[in-house]
Amino acid sequence: MTRARRWIGEHLVLGLGLLVLAYTFVPIAIVVLMSFNDSSTSRNVYKFQKFTWDNWLHPGSWADGMADSVWLSIRIALLATVVATALGTLAAFALVRHRFAGRSAANLIIFLPMASPEIVMGSSLLALFVSAGFGGQLGFWTILIAHIMFCLSFVIVTVKARLSGLNDNLEQAAMDLYATEAQTFWRVTFPLVLPGIVGAALLSFSLSFDDFIITNLNAGQEVTFPMFVYGANQRGVPMEVNVIGTAMFVISIAVVLGNEIVRRRQEKALAA
């Protein structure tokens, strides 16, 4: 009895951990599995019919408009990431390093886009675009502007956290050790804030890539990948969607792993 109890005690935490992992990974596993599903004989998307490489090997046969929607989403996500990361980083520096009138108000306002419901943000943006006379030009640029906006607050908050955690004694130590203002920034401040900036950029990309609500309201005739999936879902999701899903998953894992490998290799090189 006590042995059984001890066994449970020892394995309970492990078992619970595995359950939680399964909870998060089962859906992803389904996506990966379905990307190899041969659905040519049936439209029943919830059933695995037969293994095939076709979904992966013949993008030409992809559902109409899917490739375009993916390409559009990637372009918007890249641009929104670059612009939001650059602007957000600068804003974070200003908010942490400079005292100015309205600083605390600005710190509060940054949280608004994160806190307010997307549907509210999306519709008020639409109202803004229309009343500014861009009602007829909704499309790539309005999507981009909307994405930059909501990415910005995430970037600012992430970089700010990193920057305020930075001991400003370090910068003074650098100056004391003959580093000019510019050298201090590039040798000390920037490398120490960089992980925050990279994290913010990755977050921006994925926020932009999968945004649906705000995008849908401001897209005009354009169709992004999330909009495509939503539309296709009315008829039954084509298996190729799972290909994109799996590819995105593999790429993010690769980025994380790559980062780790580079870091370890650098450490090893230094230790050599």
Binding site: L170, L177, A179, R187
Partner: protein, 390 residues
């Protein structure tokens, strides 16, 4: 360790010698005011080249502020800072031949130890820092740790890295801001000796900030005692200890018995003071007041104690009528508290020579001291100034 002197070019910044060819650090009328608070008040200070100089004072007295102005990290409200004949008051920190060991080390967390140490040399465009870094790490005995990150090291090791990182630049002045504060007692004693050894070897000017009077006394050639933004007194450790000028110095550096007295005036090279009915004479150079009321000061270990009625081996007056209120045995010595007839408790330290057994509490005693060991201070000062409540 002679390698330390060779190699890198001297830091940037002019190297004009003082009138007498020296590179003394001179602070003149140095003042730092914050909105509502004056942290440093018109400080005048000369730190001779090559000296181990200690700035000693309680927490909050303005030590860090003073160092930061010398390093160029704070701008003085008024006053000047000179190195030799070069004025550096408003020079950028990276253009001063001055380096700092920060109170919390401030090591760069993203660089390994070797890179941290090489930082200053590299910023000055010096190539091939390898050998110098290796020599420096050897000096602080961290050769095997060169590739670790600062967070992987103990407090004592980090402290030595901070020292190496500053020292490698061979600054004309090295500023140390309570560098041993975070270490435990044993490590601190070890590092004190090591710092002193390194300073002697490299021969640079060290300005060492501390609030630990024992640390200042064991390490420094000269101590400046600082209190509330001003220097109270400056001199060799023994000089400050034996002949304090203010009640703050008398209490902050060791302990003192301060007895109220009435100064009768100068008599030749002595000053006469009436204390509780007796007249004591204090050597002129130890009397820092010569009229009105005064504090007669005597260090506890200079006071001789004996059971009432037994002879005391001292040429001065014997003061009778005291009794022991507290005894504590600390190995090398015994510390007595003695209640005097005028209601003041005096502290007496007696060496445990074994000549006599301990005097128990309640014993009636006489005390005495050699007049030349006493000092006389102006009575307008608080007799409790500088007593640390710990």
């Amino acid at each position: 360790m002679s390698q330390v002197h060779e190699g890198a070019a001297a830091p940037s910044g002019a190297h004009a010698r003082g009138a007498d060819g020296s590179r003394d650090l001179r602070l003149t009328g140095l003042t730092k005011e914050y909105a509502t608070f004056t942290a440093v008040k018109s400080l005048d200070l000369v730190v001779p080249q090559g000296e181990f100089f200690a700035l000693l004072g309680p927490s909050g007295c303005g030590k860090t502020t003073t160092l930061r102005m010398v390093a160029g990290l704070d701008t003085p409200t008024s006053g000047t800072i000179h190195l030799g004949d070069t004025e550096i008051t408003f020079e950028k920190p990276y253009r001063r031949p001055v380096n700092t060991v920060f109170q919390n080390y401030a090591l760069f967390p993203h660089l390994n130890i070797a890179k941290n140490v090489a930082f200053g040399l590299e910023r000055r465009g010096i190539k091939n820092t390898r050998q110098q870094v290796a020599d420096m790490l050897e000096l602080v005995e961290l050769t095997s740790q060169a590739h670790k990150k600062p967070t992987q090291m103990s407090g004592g090791q980090q402290q030595r890295v901070a020292l190496a990182r500053a020292l490698i630049n061979k600054p004309e002045v090295l500023l140390l801001d309570e560098p041993l504060g975070a270490l435990d007692l044993k490590l601190r004693r070890g590092m004190q000796l090591e710092l002193k050894r390194i300073q002697t070897e490299v021969g640079l000017t060290f300005v060492h900030v501390t609030h630990d009077q024992e640390e200042a006394m064991t390490m420094a050639d000269t101590i400046a005692v600082m209190n509330q933004g001003v220097i109270e007194q400056m001199g060799a450790p023994s000089e400050l200890y034996e002949n304090p000028r203010t009640t703050f110095v008398a209490n902050f550096l060791g302990q003192s018995n301060l007895i109220a007295g009435e100064i009768e005036g100068r008599d030749g090279d002595h000053v006469k003071v009436r204390v509780q009915g007796a007249v004591a004479s204090v050597p002129g150079d130890r009397a820092h007041s010569d009229s009105g009321k005064g504090w007669l000061g005597i260090r506890p270990e200079k006071v001789l104690i004996a059971e009432a009625g037994t002879p005391i081996d001292a040429p001065g007056d014997v003061i009778t009528g005291g009794y022991v209120t507290d005894v504590s045995f600390v190995g090398v010595s015994t510390q007595y508290s003695v209640m005097m007839p005028w209601g003041q408790e005096l502290t007496v330290f007696e060496q445990n020579t074994g000549a006599r057994s301990m005097l128990p509490v309640g014993t009636k005693v006489d005390i005495s001291w050699r007049p030349e060991f006493a000092f006389l201070l102006d009575a307008s000062q608080d007799a409790k100034a500088g007593i640390e409540d710990d």
